[in-house]
Amino acid sequence: MIKVKDLKRCYGTGDTAVRALKGVSFEINKGEFVAIMGASGSGKTTLLRILALLDDATGGEYTIRGLKVSSLPEAERSYYRLTQVGYIFQDYALINEMSAAENVYLLSLMEGKSKKESYRTALEALEKVGLKGKHDRVPDELSGGEKQRVAIARAIAKKPDILFADEPCANLDTANSKQVLDVFKDLNEKYGQTIVMVTHEPWHIEYVDRVITFKDGSLLSDEKKVKEPGSVKD
């Protein structure tokens, strides 16, 4: 599904240049639920942004479903972001002047769905992340965890091919984290949703199939988990 080859990203030039990704290669298969771990500053966010077409690599290449998406024209990149990938930002990135429902609804509207259907999809997605009844609130009226869940709803409402999540549980307590991870697990198992999730929490590992660890912009380890029977509910 995703093939990454010798991917590099260097911020800035000259002496102050930061080599955030120093040439990483790996593949992610369809339907995998992958955790990306590593110390702060090891390049996790950088990688995710590039794969979601929010940023461009400075070296190497990658394909998604065999397509070199990075060389698409801007209009198609935009359409790809809209329809193929869901991205959950480390800092929510909601539109403050829009209610929870509108934040989600906007994307279906952009896709060309009818108002009614867009609204229904948005409510469904919000319900899935446990925000039933809070769809009319604007981000300022929601807690950090709730905002994060709106962002998650926005990303999953369109049922994207791949879901990228940058520390989706960073602002959630354990109970809420579990709820979110359950949603992910559910999507992954029921719909074969491919998920790439950045996380710091070791206990999240029990939800995923595979853990890729970064260190200083390079791949440190890549472990496929052997599922222990009974450790995660089927």
């Binding site: 990135a93 539109i95 002047e97 509207l109 896709e111 060309g112």
Partner: protein, 402 residues
């Protein structure tokens, strides 16, 4: 495209609905002032010009004025011209006049004037001269050794501080007049006229026959034939008809005259008018641009997020076009209310120039439409430009600033 419009409209709607209301009010207020600035001064100047051309009609030129061709001093056979003119349909009245240069002398004081020789009874139908006598009486058909003097030269009215005057000449006083051909006459002042307008108040009037006598004319010459029409607005048609009736002198409508006057005497006023319009437009454009630009900068992050989740740049730009059109429409509406209230106020309380000239602003619908269209066009451009430039920035830069 239809999706872009729907999404753009939703973004604009949400940002108005949930945006800061104080900011909205402030923006609308500033825009209304910009609009006012665009239309107010031209209205005042329009009023002043209207007043000025009104004077031109009421005193020297009537609705149509016939003047000698080429280098001729006089219209030859003015009576024949008058006969032809009076026969033209739509002409209400016509008369002949003789304008000459002279100096008036009273107790060692001398002023130069234009003296108009006129037929007093005919003037009642032609001009406002008979109606602006502030002291004494107007000329009559029998007035031969009598003169009417403008208030400014008489030293009575306003403006006597600015211009040379005879120093408090009253009706009944005697003045000596020396005509341009050297002939001297003594006249009794019959009245003082006050038209609150230099062209009138710096002049003097005598009977037509006086000028004829002094210059040895034979009852057929005139320096102008002044015509009034039955219906305002028909001047141009009647001008043609007079030509067709065989009048070979120069024929002007009051509009021709005031046009050349505006070009000449009022040139500075016209220049101020145009300059004020251009300056208002530039200031207005800059302000609209700044307001929208600040607005866009404040939402740079939002624009980045919208792009990141796959909203097309076109929808984003459209949302700003909608937003700025909305702001400016509100601004124009508020500006119109403000403008019309001010117009009402100045209709009731005209601005006074030269102490006596009351200027009421005129509402020019063409100017209003022009200004509305200009403001709207400007706003759309001013709204789109900054949004367009930000929406082209990289997502990283827009959201995280680097």
């Amino acid at each position: 495209m239809i999706n872009d419009i729907r999404v753009g409209a939703l973004i604009a709607y949400c940002s108005v609905k949930r945006g800061n209301k104080k900011t909205l009010i402030f923006i609308v207020f500033v825009l209304s002032l910009i609009f006012m600035n665009l239309v107010f001064l031209p209205s005042m100047i329009g009023g002043l010009l209207g007043l000025f051309t009104g004077f031109m009609q009421d005193y020297p030129y009537g609705d149509i004025v016939i003047e000698p061709t080429g280098d001729n001093t006089y219209i030859n056979n003015a009576d024949n011209v008058l006969k032809k003119v009076r026969a033209v349909e739509g002409v209400r009245a016509a008369t002949k006049r003789l304008d000459v240069g002279a100096s008036i002398n009273h107790k060692q004081k001398v002023v130069g004037v234009t003296i108009t020789g006129m037929l007093p009874t005919e003037e009642y139908e032609i001009s406002r001269y008979p109606y602006i006598i502030s002291e004494g009486d107007f000329l009559s058909d029998l007035s031969r050794d009598e003169i009417i003097i403008g208030a400014m030269i008489a030293g009575a009215g306003f403006g006597s501080e600015i211009y040379d005057n005879l120093g408090e000449v009253r009706p009944g006083a005697f003045v000596d007049v020396t005509y341009s051909n050297g002939v001297k006459r003594t006249y009794k002042v019959k009245g003082i006229m006050e038209g609150t307008f230099e062209v009138v108040d710096l002049n003097a009037l005598v009977h037509y026959k006086e000028i004829e006598d002094v210059y040895g004319l034979e009852g057929k010459e005139a320096t102008s034939v002044v015509v009034r029409v039955k219906e305002q607005g028909t001047e141009a048609q009647i001008q043609d008809k007079i030509r067709e009736a065989g009048v070979n002198e120069q024929i002007f409508t009051w509009a021709d005259k005031s046009e050349s006057l505006i070009r000449q005497a009022m040139q500075s006023m016209g220049a101020i008018d145009t300059m004020s319009k251009i300056v208002s437009l530039i200031v207005g454009a800059a302000l609209v641009l700044i307001i929208i630009y600040i607005n866009v900068l404040n939402r740079k992050k939002e624009i980045g997020i919208l792009k990141a989740v796959g909203i097309t740049p076109r929808s984003i730009v459209l949302s700003y076009a909608f937003l700025s059109t909305f702001y400016v429409s509100l601004g124009i509406s508020a500006g119109l209310v403000l403008y019309l209230s001010l117009m009402l106020y100045f209709q009731a309380n005209p601005v006074t120039f030269y102490e006596t000239m009351e200027v009421r602003p005129v509402i020019d619908p063409v100017l209003l439409v022009q200004s509305v269209v200009t403001m709207l066009t400007l706003s759309v451009v001013a709204g789109i430009l900054p949004a367009w430039s930000v929406s082209r920035e990289s997502i990283l830069k827009a959201i995280w600033g680097r």
